[in-house]
Point group: C2
């Protein structure tokens, strides 16, 4: 087969975070496939076809992309952030595994991007400076008990925790439940970062204490980063929003 | 103060992974500060000063950079991968917190980059497609008991685990000990990715089963990704190295 698929990470919004390798992959594609707002971020190019879908049909979109490639297209599947982190890459491989065996002869690549937690962390300092976990809070694809178990394990082992997909209109209570679990172990002063739409014109970053965070402060465009017990604030000279960072060192050296 | 520091992520080796924002930050700096091989990746520019150090003096290097900025320089602290993930950003904020109070008036930014685990994951498929943890296996800055506790918690809660700094001549046994802990819970067929020097000319990626991984197969340039119980291989049409991915879904929906 001569077709090719590249699953391309656009990074989180700001085009200056799109890597040259990702730009090249987009420019050389005959077909773009993806969620409308992501495809909309790619400059239009004469002769390049754009196949836009909504955000809830990832597996169908992946199958569609594989089928296009099997018919000879050079397909770029566009993904926000990094395609491998709670985005399109896993959907494409799931479609590959369960789909037409001929698809396994396709040339499939993943082009990495800046994932939201890295951009959010960079905006406030270095909250991911120690060991950390990244979790999707969505229970659309896994039972809530799994989310709970993982979150509890992460907090008890004192990882910094980055939460993707914290809340949506269809999942209104999960973030509140997660914050309650975290508060069983972490103190009310623990820094929590709510980073909304990082790198987009409507970006808003807030640094709060765990005790004052309410789920209603987040929406589906928000990345939530919860500090470990060692995560610290540094007050700036102008008394403005502090820096937040997690030191590399932990406790007393054995 | 008029000085400025940007801690810049170069990404993992391949210049096509350097973001335009990072390129701009490097080009506009009067001074580059960093570990020699990283500074060496930045194109030389007339009039720009280069301050090169070895890799073991992160805090000294951070203080030096802050001091330069306090004297009016526009400093770029260069970091491999993403500066916020086991790299220079946390060191700069630690130096800031414990150093000259006047430094808090400086303009300090972090410019994110592609961190090694994202590039390594992209090379093989989507192994980070589910919830995952990122840990440094170095016990230079934290007691080994903390590493052990976190690793055990991560494995028991069935996170994919990405290990940074797995081994060095000064830390020869830690990776072996970590693999033993993982094998208490994960089966011998669990996919393990050893991704060495991703994006560099000497890149080498291996996909092994947990039962066949030996610590001696990794070195200090290796990123280790250990699959969760759900992480799967997909055999390619040509029977070559398989894809590895972690499905987004987990178990039966509650």
């Amino acid at each position: 087969m001569t077709g090719r698929i590249t699953i391309v990470g656009l990074g989180p919004g700001d085009p200056r975070w799109l890597t040259p390798a990702a730009s090249e992959a987009l420019a050389s594609a005959t077909d773009l496939v993806g969620y409308g707002p992501y495809v909309g971020r790619v400059p239009e190019q004469p002769g390049q076809r754009r196949h836009v879908s909504d955000n809830r049909v990832e597996l169908d979109r992946a199958r569609f992309a594989l089928d296009l490639a099997a018919n000879g297209a050079r397909v770029a599947v566009v993904s926000g952030g990094d395609p491998g982190v709670f985005a399109m890459a896993a959907a494409v491989f799931e479609a590959l595994e369960t789909g037409d065996p001929a698809w396994r002869g396709l040339d499939i690549h993943v082009e990495p991007g800046i994932t939201a937690m890295l951009a959010a962390a960079a905006r406030v300092g270095a909250p991911l400076g120690g060991d950390f976990c990244a979790m999707s809070l969505s229970d659309n694809l896994k039972p809530w008990e799994v989310v709970e178990k993982r979150l509890r394990a992460a907090v008890e082992a004192d990882f910094v925790v980055a939460l993707y997909n914290p809340i949506s209109s269809a999942r209104p209570w999960q973030l509140g439940a997660a914050l309650t679990i975290v508060a069983e172990t972490r103190g009310p002063d623990t820094p929590v970062i709510l980073a909304r739409a990082v790198g987009r014109p409507d970006e808003r970053i807030r640094i709060l204490a765990l005790g004052e965070v309410e789920a209603s402060l987040a929406d589906m465009s928000t990345m939530v980063i919860i500090g470990a017990s060692t995560t610290r604030r540094i007050v700036k000279g102008d008394g403005d929003t502090p820096y937040v960072y997690t030191p590399r060192s932990y406790g007393v050296r054995a």
